[in-house]
Structure formats: structure tokens, C-alpha cells
Symmetry: C2
Subunit: 507 residues, 2 copies
């Protein structure tokens, strides 16, 4: 009896998407894997039809059924939707871990060839500035909220360690800017430090490096890295940097893993100028489909496809134009997308000579494979959280409101605005300081930073340990609103005795 | 009559700071430049004495007098101050342009040697996430405000173009994440596009690239770049990446330029384990001091010092241990900091052979030199701003408040919280949607993202074009506060007919 075919949602996407998706599909089928493809739409055409999300309901429903997606790049045409359909798909299905392997490939010449780069960037894929929550504070000052949660951090950090364990990797590097952003990036770092000891017994070392140093080290000595786990924007930048070290986006696969679905896609864009010309290099999507095969448990087929693409690159008999250009080959007679695909299919069953074939390599190196076992269902130790996420834990945290930060659109000199605001503070609160772009400007510090028309006024309880009531806050804003234009209000929380807010620069 | 000496504030700093500062000072003096040094304190000792800013008043006053600083790295010891003293200095003196040249150096072996890397990263140095404004929204969710102003963007972008013109450079690349953050990073991109045409007549090309692509291209083909101008965090990461391409932080100078002061410093840290051992490579601070000499108008001396350090690196007779290690030289008999300095001094007056000596090179290439002429005092064209910053312009912008975003600490299911909040909306407002980490969760979208205990409720005016009154907003918050814990409130502005807020993902 033939095995039950795996249901997979196939999104051809825009530009060169259909061609690279077809290449991967032909190779998977040639490798003998039975897949029940559900072809589905997303991207440019969907936006043009007036769906502002770019992802139609039928596509969402298919993914809810199959829980696995292989997709080409999607375009977000200007003027039809303001959010990227690629990002919307990742968000809707909560694929919290973006996995980007960067590994030296035979036959792909780079400045780093022979150094043995074999790293995986695990990028948090939901939070951070990609929550996309932006508000103009004044006509000339824009703001975006960077949001980092303990739960979001813990999920992706645990994913990175589980990936390291599964693939036999030896080190996880956490990359943050915690030295500057002590609450947001600092939370990610603290969660990493809490979770890391659970994996020490597996021989997985843990280190934390500042993100700019990671970028520097990736340029100087990339072979030192194994798994890098990081927040969303940091991960965006360094994963593209890492793929630049090993041949570029034409060779950069990715997997987006969530509890409910996994999405496999090439990192490159839709390259509309090459669309329909049968010239695009399909390697990135083929490598992504290998990650997909491992994810659905087809490890044998994944190994065969991986060996076949390695043989194809190593021998260089079929090079697409981009690779021929890099390798100094014959660009005029470069292989087509379909010709390259034929060659990979012809090489199924062969093993590479200059790099270790799959069977000879330990564990799952380079894969980025199986889905994360959900912590609830596993035997994992309980994390050493200061408090764990969840309504009961949050309710148990001792708390008080120490004051508020009120943001005002104002060009008044701090020496004038300060006393005026102090006089409006009322009985419960007092004005502690004013700041401009994070630097204290009142009480005067002796230097006067440039004004941009936005002041932050910090009011704190007159009684240092008092819990400020909502009524007092709203009454304060009402009084201030008679004299100033306000735009934004933040409570200053003290949770479990720790201030949940930072000082101003120079304070 | 001897020329009037230039007053310069000299901050030796922490760790290896005093040694590299002494090296630069000796070379400057040997080059015949008369400087009235004002030695001043900042950093670890200052924090330990209880000054939470790390920068004493006497130091601030010296800088207000001299307006020029040459400094070693500063430490921010844990537990004494929560803000970096390096950052505080840049903020207090509003040094809005951080200039980081990355140029191939003779005798410094790298994978990119011979490709002619010669680029300058101009990083906005005041705003963005470095404003450091963080608020815990719930016990488990942290937030940092990313703040980008038109004025801050315009100043640094204009600086970058002026630098390009002064140094005879041909292209300015603007690097942002405007595709995701359309208001904040988008503002920076728009201002760039407004200013760029003013410099077209100087033959300076302008292009915009997405920051992750810039990181990718820096790894793949860095010689394509000339000047890169970018927001603060992006610039932090790619400037360290760029220095990794040309030999590392031991060779990475920087200048921080403001209207009132300029600060020159090496990028590297205080390296306490090497402190006092006379082994550190002082090249980065020597290169920074060359930038300082150009800034104070001592271009002849700057050229002589630059030629002398190029000769020293090119000949490799005195290599500090770090360089000997990179170049495969004799680490055992490496030059000391003072020995290397002696060699540079001995080479004053000589010219390099393998690279063009200073006099043979056009303009100010590699320098990062003179202070920006303030736009007010110059003949620069008026920027093509949609509106220019300033109280009069802001007052003239047509505006209304379309609603508010209210952030709630809540674990309630959106299906329960949504109707409850809708019922509290009142006569002036209606609930438009709820989102979790930027993704819409009410009205239901058919998928249920992971909850983190923080919901954003968007209330908009019932009458679509109404201007919502403060009283209605405060009454709304009062009603909601009886039933929900709220933490943060944002007005939704419409400025000049354009919504000053983004949609949620999936909306």
C-alpha cells in the first residue's frame, strides 16, 4: 500500500516564484515523496483584487489544514496594501522562529571558501519593531513601538537550543543590544541566560554578544559561529549578512516555524525582470524544500536531494547564469532553471566527493528540521523565570504605578515649560523632569540639546512609594490638556519592586 | 610669533584609554601642532564617586569652551549608572553625525585586500532606539520607543551629502527599513529623497537600499559603497560590519560631529585586561586624531600624520601583537604601544609607496573632516520639505485627532474583550479593532495568534471626519479603567489629511 501523501500548501507567488517552486516540486516528486499539493494564491494579484491583506481566506484555510507551506516570493504592490504579504503570512500563522542556515557550498566561490562556515541564524519572527505599530507624535516626529515579550523570547530561544540539540550543534550565541536597551533587548538576554543552563548537560555552550560585535565577527571570523539566536530586526540584518558570506541570496534557504504551521521559502525577492525567462537560480528554494522534507519526516528523501544538489554544485556542469558569473564560468551557455533542475534530478542517488555526503555527517547538520516539541507536552525542565507568562502569574506580581510619562507637542523652552507643568502636577503627583529625545532638558543640565517639538514630561507620585490612581492620572492629563497639546501617555510601573522604566540620559 | 594653540579637551578614559590617547598626543605634538590640552575626566571613576551620568560638570564645561574632544573609551560599571557615559557625551553635545570611515589599509591583511574598500558610514547619533525610552507594559512585555524626527533626519542626511561634496565622493546610499516601518524609517527615506536632488549638480548620485540588503552587499561587494547614511541602530551594526572588512576595531576611527562640539574616539572598548601593559594597538585613535586635525583646520599636519601611519603599516617593521597575529608576523617580538608610536613619529615626513600619498589624492578622501556649515548661515537651497520643522510650520499644519490606541494588560480572549470594549466606547468613539503584537485579533480573522497579555484597542471617531476631543478620550479611558488595566495611550493624528498611524497586520 502506498504511503499516505503529505498535504502541503503550494504558493507559487509572484515574479520568478512559479519557476523556482516548480523546480523544487519536480525534484521532490523525482525523489519519490508523495505529496498532496494544495495550490493556493497570495501576493500581488490578491492585493490588486482589493484584499488588503494579500492572503485570501481560501489560502489561510488550506494552511490550517496542511500546516505546511512551500512558497515563492510575494510582491506587495504600492498603493494596494500597506503590509507585506510575506510578513502577514508569518504573523497570521505565528511562525515565531525564522531559521536561516548559512553554509559553505562546494562550487560556489566566495572570499570565505574553505573556512567551513556552517551556521544557523534563528530569528524571532513576530515581535520587535516588526509589530509595525507606528504613530506620528507631531507633524515632524514619528514613533515605532519595539515590543519584546518574555513569552515570545522564550519560545524562540528554546527553539534555538532544541535545534542545536537536534542537529548536534555545540554553541548558541545570543545577539542583542541589551547594553543600550536594558528592558527590551535586556529581557531577551535575561531569558536566554535563564534557559541556557537547561542545555548545558547536552554539551551546548551558550554565550551572549552585542549585535554590532556579531556583525563585526561575522565579517572577521564567521566560522566561530554555530547557532545565533536574536531578536527580529537584528536577525533580519545578520541573516542577510551571513548569506552574503556563502554566495548570496541565490543560495539562502529559510524556514518559518510555528506551533500550528511551518512556511518554507527562499529569502530572495520576486525578481520580476527575470520572471518567465527560465533563467533564475532555484537553489535557494530547493534548499528550503529540503528543510521542508525534514520537517514532514521525509529525512531519507531530504538527504538524497541534499546530496544531489551538492553534487550538482560541486561538478558545475549545469550552472545558472548568476553562478557562472560568480565562478568565472560560461555565462553565455549557462544552464536554464529547468536545465539545472534536470541535472539535480539526474544526480539523485549520487553522493558529493569534496564535502561529506549526508550519511557521513552526524545528526541533522545544516537542516533546521523537525518541528519543536511543544514545551507543555515534553519533559523539559520548567524555565527559571522570574515570573512566567500567563494570567495567574501576572496577577500575582506585586505592582504599583509610580507615575506617568506624558508626551507633549511643544516648542516651548524647557525653562518655561518645566515650571508650567510643575504647577499643573496636582496634589498626588510632581513633575520630576522633562526630556527631549531621551535626554533630560529640565531641570537644566547646563547644556541645551536641539529641540524637535516633542517633550516628554515625567510625573511621579509625591509620596515615593504611593500607588498612583487612574483618577489622578486622568485629572492630570485633563489639566495639562488645557495648556499643552499632548500626544501619548505611558504609565510608570513598578513590578515586584523593580522600576519598569528607564531614566533619561543625563538624569 | 607662534600660532595660537588649539584648545582641545583630552579625556584619557578607562582601561587602555590613557595609553592610546598618549600615543595620539605624542604624534600630534611631534607633527608640530600646537594644542592647549585640557585634560578631563569621565567614565568608571566618575560613576564610582556617585555621579550617575559619568560625565562631571567640569568636563562638560571644558567641552563647552574647547568644542573639540579627543577621548579614550569609557567604561560604565554595572550598578553605578545605567546609561553609557560614551553615549551621554554624544547626547549632551548633540553630536548628531557619527562618521565611521572604513578604508583598506596597506599591511593589514584581510579577505577583501586589493578591492579598494573606501567608504564612510554616516550614522545618525541622537535618535532612534538610542533615545533609550523604555517602559514595561506588563510584567512580561517590554517596550522601547523608536523616535525619528524630520529635523534629526535632515541634519544628518545633509551632513552626509556635505561630507561627500567636501571629500569628492560620488554617491550617497541611504539605508533604511522603510519597507516595514513606513512612518519612522520611511520619514528618514523621504527626507533623503527630498535633499538628494540639491546635490545632483555636484555629481553626487543618490540611492536607497534596504538595510538588510546593505549588510548583504557589504559582505558580497563592499567596494560599491562610497558614503552610507542611515539611522542610529542600522548604522551601529553596519559600521562595525564595515570595519570588520578592513582589519577590525583596532583600525576603526570615528568622529562625532555636532553644531557645538566634535568628539573623536576609537570605536574599540577599554579592553581592561590589556590596560597598563603597553601592548594595545593605538592605530584607531591615531586615525581618529587625524580626523580631529582636519576638523580644527590643521590639514597639513593631518596629511603628514596620515602618510606616516600608512608608511608604518605598509613597511610592517613595527607591528603591535594584534596585527602581527593577523599578518602572520612575529607575535613574540611584536612592537609595544610606545614602540609603534615611536615608529610613526620617525616616519613623519615620509610618504607611502603602495598607496597614494596624501598629496596625490584628490580632496579629503578618507578624512571625514570639517564641521558642517550650519544651514542657516550658508547658501544652501531651502529643503523641499512637505513642512519644515519649527513651531510656526507645525502650527500651520491642518490636523485632527481621529481616535486613540489604548494598550491594555489583559489575557482575556479577544472574542470576550472585544464586545466589552465596544460597549465602553461611548457616543463619540467606536471600537475599530483589537491587535496583539501588531496583528489584528478582533474582529476575528479566522486565526488566533499567541497571546502575551497585552492588547491594543483602537477606538476611532464614530463620525469619520470628526476631531475627537480630549474630554472624550479621557472619559473613555476612565470607563475602560473600571474594567481593564490600561498601560499606554496614543492619539491617532491626521496631519494635513494623512493618517499618522499604521494599520494592524491582517487588518
Amino acid at each position: 500500500m502506498a504511503p499516505q501523501p503529505h498535504p502541503v500548501t503550494l504558493i507559487p507567488g509572484d515574479g520568478v516564484g512559479p519557476e523556482v517552486v516548480l523546480s523544487a516540486r519536480r525534484i521532490i516528486e523525482a525523489a519519490g515523496v508523495a505529496i498532496a499539493w494544495e495550490e493556493a494564491e497570495a501576493g500581488a494579484e490578491v492585493f490588486r483584487r482589493g484584499d488588503t491583506s494579500g492572503v485570501p481566506r481560501a489560502t489561510r484555510e488550506s494552511i490550517e489544514r496542511t500546516r505546511v507551506v512551500l512558497k515563492g516570493p510575494l510582491e506587495t504592490p504600492v498603493g494596494f496594501g500597506e503590509k507585506s504579504a510575506n510578513v502577514t503570512l508569518r504573523k497570521l500563522f505565528e511562525t515565531y522562529a525564522n531559521v536561516r542556515p548559512a553554509r559553505e557550498l562546494p562550487g560556489v566561490p566566495t572570499r570565505y571558501a574553505g573556512e567551513g562556515i556552517d551556521l544557523v541564524v534563528v530569528r524571532e519572527n513576530i515581535e520587535d519593531l516588526y509589530a509595525g505599530i507606528e504613530h506620528m507624535q507631531t507633524p515632524d516626529v514619528a514613533q515605532c513601538l519595539k515590543v519584546i515579550s518574555r513569552k515570545g523570547s522564550e519560545k524562540v530561544i528554546r527553539y534555538a537550543f532544541e535545534l542545536a540539540r537536534r542537529e548536534g550543534r555545540r554553541k548558541v550565541t545570543c545577539a542583542t543590544k541589551a547594553n543600550i536597551m536594558k528592558l527590551t533587548e535586556g529581557l531577551f538576554k535575561r531569558v536566554f541566560e535563564e534557559i541556557a543552563p537547561e542545555y548545558a548537560a547536552d554539551g551546548i555552550a551558550a554565550e551572549h554578544l552585542i549585535i554590532d560585535n556579531v556583525a563585526h565577527q561575522l565579517a572577521k571570523n564567521p566560522a566561530q559561529f554555530d547557532v545565533i539566536v536574536t531578536t527580529n530586526l537584528n536577525g533580519d540584518i545578520i541573516s542577510d549578512l551571513a548569506s552574503g558570506l556563502v554566495g548570496g541570496l541565490g543560495f539562502a534557504p529559510s524556514g518559518n516555524y510555528g506551533d500550528g504551521a511551518a512556511i518554507f521559502e527562499a529569502v530572495h525577492g520576486s525578481a520580476p525582470k527575470y520572471a518567465g525567462k527560465d533563467v533564475i537560480n532555484p537553489t535557494a528554494l530547493i534548499l528550503s524544500s529540503i528543510m521542508m522534507l525534514r520537517h514532514i519526516g521525509e529525512t531519507g528523501a531530504a538527504d538524497r536531494v541534499e546530496d544531489a544538489i551538492l553534487v550538482t554544485l560541486e561538478e558545475g556542469r549545469a550552472m545558472t547564469a548568476d553562478l557562472a558569473r560568480q565562478a568565472g564560468g560560461d555565462v553565455e551557455h549557462a544552464a536554464s532553471t529547468s536545465g539545472f533542475t534536470d541535472e539535480v534530478i539526474a544526480n539523485l542517488g549520487r553522493q558529493p566527493r569534496t564535502v561529506a555526503p549526508r550519511a557521513a555527517r552526524p545528526a541533522e547538520v545544516g537542516g533546521g528540521g523537525a518541528p519543536l516539541i511543544a514545551p507543555a507536552a515534553s519533559a523539559l525542565p520548567v524555565p527559571h523565570a522570574r515570573w512566567s507568562y500567563g494570567p495567574e502569574e501576572a496577577a500575582g506580581v506585586e505592582r504599583r504605578t509610580a507615575g506617568v510619562d506624558l508626551f507633549l507637542e511643544s516648542w516651548e523652552a524647557p525653562e518655561a515649560a518645566g515650571p508650567a507643568l510643575a504647577a499643573l502636577a496636582g496634589d498626588a503627583l510632581r513633575l520630576e523632569m522633562l526630556s527631549s529625545r531621551g535626554t533630560m532638558v529640565y531641570p537644566p543640565t547646563g547644556v541645551a540639546p536641539d529641540a524637535v517639538g516633542l517633550l516628554r514630561a515625567r510625573f511621579v507620585a509625591r509620596e515615593p512609594t504611593a500607588d498612583v490612581a487612574d483618577a489622578d492620572v486622568l485629572a492630570l492629563v485633563g489639566r495639562v490638556a488645557d495648556r499643552f497639546r499632548w500626544t501619548h501617555l505611558e504609565k510608570l510601573h513598578v513590578f515586584a519592586g523593580e522600576p519598569g522604566f528607564t531614566k533619561a540620559q543625563g538624569q
